[in-house]
């Protein structure tokens, strides 16, 4: 017999409590929070903690008990009036939902209240439905598998990748006038997926994603090295795998790089790729520096920076994605990394730019930074 996990045991205890209420006609209230319906941007560990903390006011009610259910979902059962506590809970949850650059689901789709014993059957149905297995409509896309990757690589060999090429400006919003620091040149995985592999989670398997991005690196470098491509280019950032820096395509790209761009190109590396082959990372960054490239760490969240020892990495820049929780988490990061080395991916949130500037960050990327630079340049004009 398979041992049950703590969340499965919690579900059984809650179901037994509801059944007792039904049998004895005891009045209770219950709240169910579908944490599993939060978008991935709200699925980080600290969001889970915030979700639990948001329900804390209810735990002060009589006979209150918290249940951590499969899914994950959270439930609180209590006795008596809890209107004030519920208002506090709603406030906290709305604050949590504001912590995402994408459209957050409505609270009506996340939080459900039940009066026991009348609505006991509904709560039992909700407990039986989902949690162990996601609803079909909510089922995630299947991860990339080896056979699909081979098909995708065959399709890429025939495809004109120029149509997946994107660039986004990284702005310097310093004490002076706003200026463009670099173009961030990427091949859009989202566009590529939509066209060539819809319904497939390209990032679902870390190892296959690395192979795919290495293939894309080779094509991107070949594209950049093609005649005339960089003739009128300004400074830019390019996402690369560590092994791509050591490949033949990079040498060709390096040979084609105009002299005016030497020292003004930044290679942005993926954290997992560094850990996967740290010795190659050391060799690649040494080579890159010898050829006057700068090096950037991508996706440098505070959680990641707790795991990677940044002083040992020797990065020139760290690209930090914004979340509204960042101001509360960034202290240790700012203690060891100069703010001038940080590139804040501000997304759509104008608060990101305001906070970043308040702590000395000067480099920003994303629509909010585009708007801020537009405003500053319009004022200057």
């Amino acid at each position: 017999m398979t041992a049950r996990t703590p969340d499965q045991l919690a579900r059984e205890r809650l179901a037994a409590l509801v059944a007792d209420c039904l049998a004895a006609g005891v009045a209770r209230q219950a709240l169910l929070f579908r944490v599993d319906r939060l978008p991935p941007s709200l699925a980080r560990p600290h969001h889970q903690r915030l979700a639990e903390a948001a329900l804390a006011p209810l735990l002060a009610c009589a006979r209150a008990e918290l249940f951590q259910l499969p899914g994950p979902r959270l439930a609180v059962v209590w006795r008596g009036d809890a209107e004030a506590a519920l208002l506090d809970v709603v406030d906290s949850l709305e604050h949590l939902l504001a912590d995402t650059p994408v459209a957050a689901p409505s609270l009506r789709d996340l939080v459900f209240l039940y009066d026991l014993p009348e609505a006991g059957d509904l709560l039992l149905d909700a407990l039986a439905d989902g949690g162990d297995a996601a609803d079909a409509a909510d089922a995630p896309d299947p991860p990339l598998d080896p056979a699909s990757l081979l098909l995708l690589e065959a399709a890429l060999a025939q495809a004109d990748l120029a149509r997946f090429a994107r660039r986004e400006t990284i702005w310097r919003l310093g004490p002076g006038a706003a200026s463009a620091a670099w173009d961030h040149r990427t091949l859009s995985l989202a566009a590529l997926r939509a066209e060539l592999m819809p319904g497939c989670d390209l990032a679902g398997d870390t190892w296959l994603l690395r192979r795919l991005t290495r293939t894309l690196d080779r094509r991107a470098l070949a594209l950049l090295a093609s005649a005339g491509e960089l003739a009128a280019a300004g400074p830019f950032v390019i996402d690369l795998n560590v092994s791509s820096v050591l490949g033949a395509e990079f040498l060709r790209f390096d040979a084609a790089l105009p002299a005016c761009l030497r020292g003004r190109v930044v290679l942005a590396l993926c954290p997992a790729d560094i850990i996967a082959d740290a010795a190659a990372f050391g060799f690649a960054t040494g080579f890159a520096r010898a050829r006057h490239y700068r090096v950037m760490l991508r996706d440098a969240t505070p959680e990641l920076l707790a795991v990677l020892w940044t002083p040992a990495l020797g990065m020139d820049y760290l690209a930090v994605p914004w979340t509204p929780a960042l101001p509360g988490q960034a202290g240790p990061v700012l203690d060891i990394i100069p703010a001038e080395s940080l590139v804040l991916g501000a997304g759509e949130d104008r608060d990101a730019v305001g906070w970043g500037r308040s702590v000395g960050i000067q480099l920003f990327q994303g629509p909010a930074a585009d708007r801020a630079s537009l405003g500053e340049r319009a004022t200057a004009a």
């Binding site: 996990t5 980080r44 997992a272 010795a279």
Partner: protein
């Protein structure tokens, strides 16, 4: 019900770093006392750049390399700092195939080893104690101790001595 520490769940360090949210989710599914989180796929270069203690593993398997005895000053210093930060008591020196690996590990406070050299040492000790040792080679004794089923132990006339090399299947007294 599984006894405490019954199963070590090994997760590649790189995979954990690739998706810290998913890693945290996976850890939440392994919070019973029976499971122990083991980070593996960690070589000395990766450990020098990392503070894996932030992921709160029970153990970390550090891959042995002969290069570790002759690292340049900065690399040696970074590795020593990372080992100290994690605590050598949480490190298993993996692929410890030589005596040099054991010597290096002991010098760094490591007390857990996995690899053929340890297997050979244990087999040599068994052979010196076994009254049927005359019919067995060292290689046979190593292979039989590594077997997970009776078929792989065929030929051993003192299987209890082989079992002594493995953890007690029953939980210890409370």
């Amino acid at each position: 019900m599984l006894p405490p520490d019954a199963i070590g769940v090994e997760v590649r360090f790189m995979e954990a770093v690739a998706d810290l949210s998913r890693f945290a989710q996976a850890c939440r599914g392994c919070v019973t006392p029976a499971f122990r989180l083991v980070l593996d796929g960690v070589d000395h270069a990766a450990l020098s750049l990392a503070r894996p203690g932030a992921l709160d593993p029970d153990l970390l398997k550090l891959d042995w390399s002969p290069r570790m005895t002759g690292l340049p000053g900065r690399e040696r210093r970074l590795l020593a700092q990372s080992i100290t930060a994690l605590g050598p008591g949480r490190i298993v020196l993996h692929r410890a195939e030589t005596e040099a690996a054991l010597v290096w590990g002991r010098a760094h406070g490591i007390e857990r080893f996995q690899g053929r050299h340890v297997d050979a040492m244990l087999a040599a000790a068994r052979l010196s104690d076994c009254r049927f040792a005359g019919g067995c080679s060292l290689r046979q004794c190593i292979d039989r101790a590594a077997a997970t089923g009776p078929a792989g132990r065929a030929g051993c006339r003192d299987p209890a001595l082989l079992d002594a090399a493995h953890p007690d299947p029953q939980p210890g007294p409370a």
